[in-house]
């Protein structure tokens, strides 16, 4: 199962080679998340409507190894935007990917942008 975790690694803005046009803004729930398929990857996308900001990260929960993070509740931990895994409520920073309430490995985060009402996710390959 190691290989499935290795599929996902953090992409910085400077490393983006492809901006993948994922879906319309309105396809995503407000103040919630949904999952995007890109090649063999599953990416969770979150719409923080209250702050007008968007985040993307791996959909894979590193704790349970299930594709569920996009179904988690979002919110903030002292200002840090986060998502809580729906299975055991492990929370992760959507800025750094860091596990905020434990010692799990960080999740991979991806750049995201909105243009003409479409959501784009940045990949390096």
């Amino acid at each position: 199962m190691e290989s499935i975790l290795e599929k996902y690694s953090k992409v910085d803005n400077s490393e983006v080679k492809i901006w993948f046009k994922a879906a319309m803004v309105t396809d995503f729930p407000e103040n919630g998340g949904a999952c995007v398929k890109y090649k063999d990857k599953q990416i969770a996308v979150f719409n923080f409507k209250r702050k007008n900001s968007w985040y993307a990260c791996q959909n894979l929960c590193p704790h349970t190894l299930e594709m569920i993070l996009s179904r988690g509740m979002i919110g903030d931990d002292e200002g840090i935007p986060k998502v809580a895994s729906p299975m055991y409520k492990k929370t992760f920073s959507l800025e750094t990917g860091e596990n905020l309430n434990g010692d799990l490995e960080a999740i991979a985060t991806y750049p995201i942008k909105i243009e003409n009402n479409f959501v784009y996710i940045g990949f390096s390959e």
């Binding site: 199962m1 103040n31 923080f48 569920i68 179904r71 509740m73 919110g75 903030d76 299975m87």
Partner: protein, 839 residues
């Protein structure tokens, strides 16, 4: 730069690394760690938890990249074969060489396997590593496939042996414990407490055999089939787990001529140095004071001393006397032992409290002058352990009536001895992380910390075994109070209110959305604690279904189904009162077949269909709703079922048609959202076949009407429901239930079942009777009206979902394609399927 080689990556070896990097800049030293096992160090103390979740990762003390980040070279799966003291080098089995400035032996121990005839047979295991457990698990599965009533014995009734017995019990085998001594946990318990523990464990299905010396392992073709004892008695078993003590892994030390003890172990001084001053030994391999210490706390202290010594802080030495106190929960039974649990008659005397009916045993050993506590034993309830342990450790003077320590202060004006605040500042509260009372309280008074979370990250207290947590919480709250700060059970960082307060605000200000709630009385973006709580409040006030604002619902409510361990969902249609027609049964069967679902009868008299893909949920429900089913709300904090017996319609003893009444109640309260789930039951006579008194509300038909019981609970802390009203008719019953449920919904804390809520209600059941039956608060009419409003507003949320296109799109796994989640895989189990195990 100097090199330190740590041989061994167990709990103590890891603790050495952690303490080392915390105390010195990484640049001055290079740490190389060798581990025999394939995995980085993990928590052996909670090994039996592995059976509950099969999750090796959650036992890990730190992930592999923690070592990399801290410049520690971790080499696992590689055994160190020789130490060359003259050249200060080591070689490994694969012939690699490394040199060191300091060497730390943390090789731990191996289980001692006594030389019993036949012990080499297949099916005999030891209990130490995750690999041991995996091998046991695989073997147990094999046994169960041949013999579902398979038995497993554990050789050794010590602490670890009883943990192993829990493990085999969790594996589904019938557990037997064999102990040579006349009592369990012979080092920690006296005979009476051992008897008490034995009774408790036997009531949980573990058979205990004391005074048993095993003479041989029986079985043909190299497989274990039984055990023979010295007295020629035999016991048929399919598996044996040996837990007969430990032997230190001191082979490396012996081959390089370090001094070792006669019965093994590397001799160390108070600096944890071996006979070679540049080689240290810590943990279960170290022989200190002529003893091997098999507990974590002394091992951690040894790691700390070795770190300090290597860093040149020579004044930090190992304590002369090692505290062997332990507290643990064995299959839900509290057991604790501290100081000298036995005490000789010339040193002091014992004060013993025993209650066989409740399975309680408490013993304290007090000096003859009655002033100091020498030790003690607790079985059944170890709540007093932390305090007693502290009194013992700090040599505090005892109150005049020292029996108050275990009996509580009695009579009027009884002195309250035993507040955590009475401890001296030097008292060590968290022994795993060596955190004193002073450092906790001072961090609060000097403003560094303001709450438990701050204290945990600042001091690391509670992060080891976690046993000190209640005491740490007490200290924090008491210190905050002494500073004049209010201690409130606030919901979270986003709302500075309790649930009950927020309930009132939402109702008075008519708040209808989470955004509005944040704007009016909260801050930030919310979180996974406040969102579902506010959703539950909206549901309780307006009976909004979860379809209204999906992103604040917990996953189960958002998708109107219960998420299972592989990310698929289960489907539970409502079957009121457990009554169902053959036609409807056929529909459930057909749906199960069509969507390839695992089906099982639930404890609440209905049928659960497991393994549905998110994408399939709307189609499944469409078929169910077409056939006349409704949501069963099995996913919600809401009414689940009202269980019934068959009642007077068929039963020759029935006093009333319990099925009809159960259906009436279930239909009335279906969809009702509450602080936690609610279950009900109706029995047609006092034989109580519906087990109604194990429910949040239970109705039992008697001569002249119904008896109404409330606040019962099954689950982890079973409680019988208490009588609220006697011999009332059906309408009165509904009235009281409306009032009772609505009052609970208004006032309970989040995730608090009715039983726990009643426990907290001042005045208990008598007070509840006054409110519900006598209407002492004059709110009965209001409560009834509110409930009627909710009942009238009921709508099946699954019907809403399938009839509304927009809602339906919620059930797509991907937003941009129609595919299902391809990460989901199943394996066969009996004639059905279950999720594949993740490693």
């Amino acid at each position: 730069m100097k090199t330190i080689i740590v041989v061994g990556n167990g709990m103590v070896g890891y603790k050495f690394c952690e303490k080392f990097i915390a105390k010195t800049p990484k640049t001055n030293f290079k740490l190389i760690v060798f581990g025999n096992e394939a995995r980085p160090a993990y928590d052996r103390v909670h090994l039996s938890a592995f059976f509950e979740n099969q999750d090796a990762k959650s036992l890990e003390l730190a992930p592999r990249d923690w070592y990399t980040k801290n410049n520690i070279e971790l080499i696992t799966n590689e055994r160190v074969s020789d130490i060359h003291r003259k050249s200060k080098t080591i070689t490994t089995v694969s012939d690699k060489q490394f040199s060191y400035d300091y060497l730390v032996l943390a090789t731990g121990s191996t289980p001692f396997v006594p030389p019993i005839k036949g012990i080499e047979k297949d099916g005999v295991f030891v209990y130490r590593t995750i690999e041991d457990l995996e091998a046991m698990l695989a073997y147990a599965e094999k046994i169960k496939s041949i013999n579902p009533k398979g038995k497993a014995a554990v050789l050794g009734g010590g602490l670890l042996g009883l943990e192993a017995a829990k493990a085999v019990r969790d594996m589904g085998l019938e557990p037997h414990v064999l102990e040579f001594a006349p009592k369990l946990m012979p080092r920690q318990l006296d005979e009476r407490s051992s008897d008490m523990l034995q009774n408790k464990l036997e009531s949980l299905g573990i058979t205990i055999h004391l005074n048993k010396a095993t003479s041989q392992i029986l079985g043909e073709n190299g497989f274990i089939a039984g055990i023979e004892f010295n007295n020629e008695e035999k016991l048929a078993v399919d598996m044996l787990v040996v837990s007969a003590g430990i032997r230190p892994c001191d082979e490396l030390a012996k081959t390089c001529n370090l001094e070792t003890g006669i019965r093994g172990g590397v001799v160390v001084n108070q600096k944890m140095q071996t006979s070679d001053p540049e080689i240290f030994a810590i943990g279960e391999v170290a022989l200190y004071n002529e003893m091997i210490y098999g507990l974590v706390a002394p091992g951690y202290e040894m790691a700390d001393v070795a770190v300090e010594q290597i860093l040149g802080n020579e004044e930090i030495l190992m304590s002369a006397k090692i505290d062997m106190s332990t507290k643990l929960k064995l299959i839900g039974v509290d057991v604790a032992s501290f100081g000298d649990p036995f005490v000789s008659p010339d040193e002091g005397h014992a004060i013993v409290f025993e209650n066989k009916a409740k399975g309680l045993y408490k013993r304290i050993n007090v000096s003859h002058d009655g002033k100091s506590l020498l030790g003690g034993i607790l079985v059944g309830d170890a709540e007093d352990y932390n305090m007693l342990h502290q009194i013992y450790l700090n040599g505090m003077t005892l109150p005049e009536n020292s029996e108050d320590l275990i009996l509580g202060a009695r009579g009027e004006g009884g002195a309250s001895f035993g507040s955590a605040m009475d401890l001296p500042d030097t008292a060590q509260i968290c022994s795993c992380e060596s955190v004193s009372k002073g450092s906790i309280c001072n961090s609060i008074t000097n403003g560094t910390c303001n709450n438990l979370k701050d204290i945990v990250s600042h001091t690391k207290a509670t992060t080891g075994c976690g046993g000190c947590k209640p005491m740490v919480v007490d200290l924090i709250n008491e210190t905050l109070k002494s500073l004049g700060k209010e201690v409130k059970e606030n919901i979270c960082d986003h709302f500075d209110y309790t649930r009950q307060e927020l309930f009132g605000i939402v109702k008075i200000k008519k708040i209808r959305t989470f955004n509005k709630a944040l704007d009016v009385c909260g801050k930030g973006d919310g979180c996974e604690i406040c969102k579902p709580l506010v959703a539950s409040i909206f549901a309780s006030i307006y009976n909004d279904t979860p379809n209204k604002e999906t992103s604040i619902q917990d996953s189960n409510d958002r998708f109107l189904a219960n998420i299972q361990r592989n990310g698929t969902y289960s489907v539970v249609p409502r079957i009121p009162g457990g009554e169902i027609t053959p036609e409807k049964l056929i529909v459930i069967g057909e749906v199960g077949k069509k969507y390839n679902l695992y089906t099982k009868i639930t404890g609440g008299q209905r049928i659960d269909l497991f393994g549905a893909h998110l994408n399939d949920l709307p189609a499944i429900w469409e078929e169910l709703i077409d056939a006349g089913f409704e949501s069963g709300h099995a996913y919600g904090k809401s009414l689940r079922t009202v269980k019934s017996c068959v009642g007077s319609a068929w039963c020759r003893y029935g006093m009333d048609d319990s099925v009809s009444f159960a259906i009436k109640l279930e239909n009335r309260y279906k969809g009702l959202r509450s602080p936690h789930k609610i279950k009900g039951g109706v029995s047609g006579c006092i034989r109580e076949c519906a087990e109604a008194r194990g429910k949040d509300f239970g109705v039992i038909a008697v001569d002249g009407g119904y008896n109404l019981y409330v606040c019962g609970n099954g689950g982890a802390t079973p409680k019988h429901a208490l009588l609220l009203a006697e011999q009332i008719d059906g309408d009165m019953c509904l009235k009281y239930l409306d009032r009772f449920l609505m009052y609970y919904i208004r006032t309970a804390a989040p995730l608090m079942r009715t039983a726990a809520w009643l426990d907290k209600l001042e005045g208990g059941i008598e007070q509840l009777k006054k409110i519900v039956v006598e209407d002492s608060l004059q709110i009965a009419k209001e409560l009834e009206k509110e409930m009627q409003g909710l009942v009238d507003a009921y709508e099946c949320e699954w019907k809403q979902a399938i009839e509304n296109k927009e809602i339906k799109t919620r059930f797509k796994h991907f937003v941009n394609v129609d595919d299902k989640d391809d990460n989901i895989a199943f394996v066969p189990m009996r004639e059905q399927k279950i999720p594949e195990l993740r490693q």
